[in-house]
Symmetry: C2
Subunit: 391 residues, 2 copies
């Protein structure tokens, strides 16, 4: 059990967020609404989060002095991404500063091999996985697992980066060479029927589960999420049960996203954990009584958890950079979104776009997911990213 004492932070207290992307931005908006002051740490000046925060410390995430300064100027720290040096975070914690979730949890999650090992030990079903130390080992695993594997770097991957699906033994060596300087693992390829995720929030006294999202990816980038997922009551219960076990195993306070594969036998296997609000939980801003962002602010300030009740079925689409426009941009066709009842438009204030970059999202609400999907698809078709670059 986590013995850390939670201190109730009344507003205005100061919250530090490591990472200034869209997740940090949406966190900041909730914190500001509740009267907290927010300082962002990010290397990029005028980051999406800093635009709505009180202040940004502009420095690399590896800059211990910057991290220390952030901790000194705030009452509690959290983060919006998991690729932070846990040694540095631990150093900050050892000085008595509070970080949620803790560096210990982050360390487990950062290394996919460690993450999966701990889940497996706790009796949680995950795809078969192996550490890889040589090409020869990799070849043997490939033969054992059958026609398709995923080669992964244990650390640092996101949005498909750091993953290669290998279907052919001839491609194995190339894949291995691409990652050969990194700690590597192999996972069996799950022939899943659906990918789903659940946001779980845990504080010092309670745990809450958000409605399950069904996620559609393209090239490992999340395209859309449908809430509630079209799964049976049985599968839903199974997922909540496993998610509870995962978060209890982590034994920490925070917002966690747990991604699952549902395989052809309707078994649920944990794919990945994120120790922070997640893209597949954007829908909770308009879709739930308490958004995943407000929930994390409640947790780090020692406040009670809020209701995760779904108002209406939702469909969320990411607005992704196209392959036609690079650099500065504007968005045309927003009027179609704003003209659609119960359809919400978010743009993250990123100065530049590039192929598949997440620059915004929309959420459509309706009485059923089918109708929400139709609304969302229709308005997404009208959106055009236009270049603002002077040619």
């Amino acid at each position: 059990m986590n013995k850390r004492e939670i201190v109730r932070l009344n507003p205005p207290s100061n919250i530090g967020i490591i990472g200034g992307g869209q997740l940090g931005r949406m966190l900041t908006v909730e914190a500001k609404r509740m009267g907290y002051n927010v300082i962002i740490l990010d290397p990029k000046p005028n980051s999406p989060a800093a635009q709505v925060a009180d202040k940004q410390i502009t420095a690399e995430f590896t800059d211990i002095n910057a991290l220390r300064k952030l901790a000194e100027k705030t009452d509690v720290l959290t983060y919006e991404f998991e690729h932070i040096d846990v040694g540095l975070l631990n150093e900050i914690e050892s000085k008595g500063y509070k970080i949620y979730p803790s560096s210990k949890t982050l360390k487990v999650i950062q290394n996919k091999y460690v993450q999966k090992s701990i889940l497996k030990e706790a009796g949680i079903k995950v795809p078969a996985f192996y550490l890889v130390n040589s090409l020869e080992e990799l070849r043997n695993i490939f033969y054992n697992l059958g026609e398709k594997i995923i080669l992964k770097t244990c650390k640092g991957g996101y949005d498909g980066k750091g993953n290669i699906v290998v279907k052919n033994i001839k491609k194995l060596e190339d894949a291995y060479k691409e990652f050969s300087d990194k700690e590597l693992m192999v996972e069996e390829f799950i022939n899943y029927t659906k990918e789903v995720s659940i946001i779980v929030a845990k504080n010092h006294e309670d745990i809450t589960f958000y409605p399950i999202a069904e996620n559609n990816h393209k090239d490992s980038i999340l395209i859309n999420s449908i809430i509630p997922a079209k799964i049976s009551k049985d599968t839903e219960e199974k997922i909540i049960e496993v998610a509870k076990k995962v978060v209890e195993t982590l034994d920490d306070f925070g917002v966690f996203c747990i991604e699952f594969f549902i395989d052809t036998d309707l078994d649920v296997l944990v794919n990945e954990i994120a120790p922070r609000p997640h893209n597949s939980g954007h829908y909770s801003i308009e879709g739930c009584t308490t958004s995943q962002y407000e929930q994390l602010i409640r947790i780090v300030t020692g406040m009670p958890l809020g209701s995760t009740k779904l108002r209406l079925p939702c469909v969320m689409y990411n607005i992704l950079g196209s392959d036609e426009v690079q650099g500065k941009y504007c968005i045309n066709g927003v009027e179609e979104i704003l003209d659609m009842e119960d359809c919400y438009f978010h743009l993250y204030g990123k100065e530049e776009t590039s192929y598949l970059k997440k620059i915004g999202h929309i959420t459509a609400l309706a009485d059923c997911v089918e109708m929400a999907e139709r609304k969302a698809k229709k308005v997404m078709d009208s959106l055009v990213i236009k270049s603002l670059e002077v040619s």
Copy 2:
């Protein structure tokens, strides 16, 4: 008819807001969500709105150079309060910069005598009102109107400032002397049974009406709003009809709040117009599909109006400074609000509190107004403003 051309501003465009208080803050949050950049003009550094905006120009509202700079750096201007020098705004407009609502509308609204005259001319019922040029004139009006009058400065009043209710002829001279350097008017005192308000949004193609709020004041400060107002269908229709006429008379684009008295004969009389989002419309953030703040951002960017549909009955309470705490403060008891389902907490980031200062608000939603009222009252009882001043 307003012939001004509306230009559609795609995000990211730049919006300038004159005034950095809570209304500007809530406007900014919506604009940022939609990917716009926001610059605030306010004389007080780190104003509530600037805390969530991209930039603040810190200067007096009478500083024409600052206003010009704001106009130059943005694509459109709006404001969150009405006491701005219309001559300066007009100068800005004459250079081709766009301000919504226009300085012409603001000029009418700023002067309560002119405001009421124009309404009266349009056949809209208002309390009897007279310009006052001397104490003698004031005495005569008092005799004619009967036992109770309101003496008002024509310009500059808000939250009861600039208003004196006079019930006794003996107090008339004192009241007159207090305001004697100002342009003055007298209004009959309406024995109202209710005070209600309606937010109306008008853009280049459409007009929408928000649900009517029933407002309770204490010492002319709004204490709470109950939505929908407990009025008959007949009265509701009458109010919407009059509100439409008011906004058509103003013939401009923007968000307008029209406050009404309902008298003992169930007649509806216009009390006051605000050419901006209003305290009594805070509930629309969680209570309506499109908040009054998002609606104004849609209007100034030439986007279509959003639905004003009420999700659930709401009760909004202002969090007002107490007479016990002055200066820096924190809020205790927030956990009670956060523990109440569908209850939302807003704190404006004002550094200091004082008696009756608006420092935040809460909105409770429920299946009926009675239940929302009970929830709101209960959590308001738990809130305590504590001093942070070192004694």
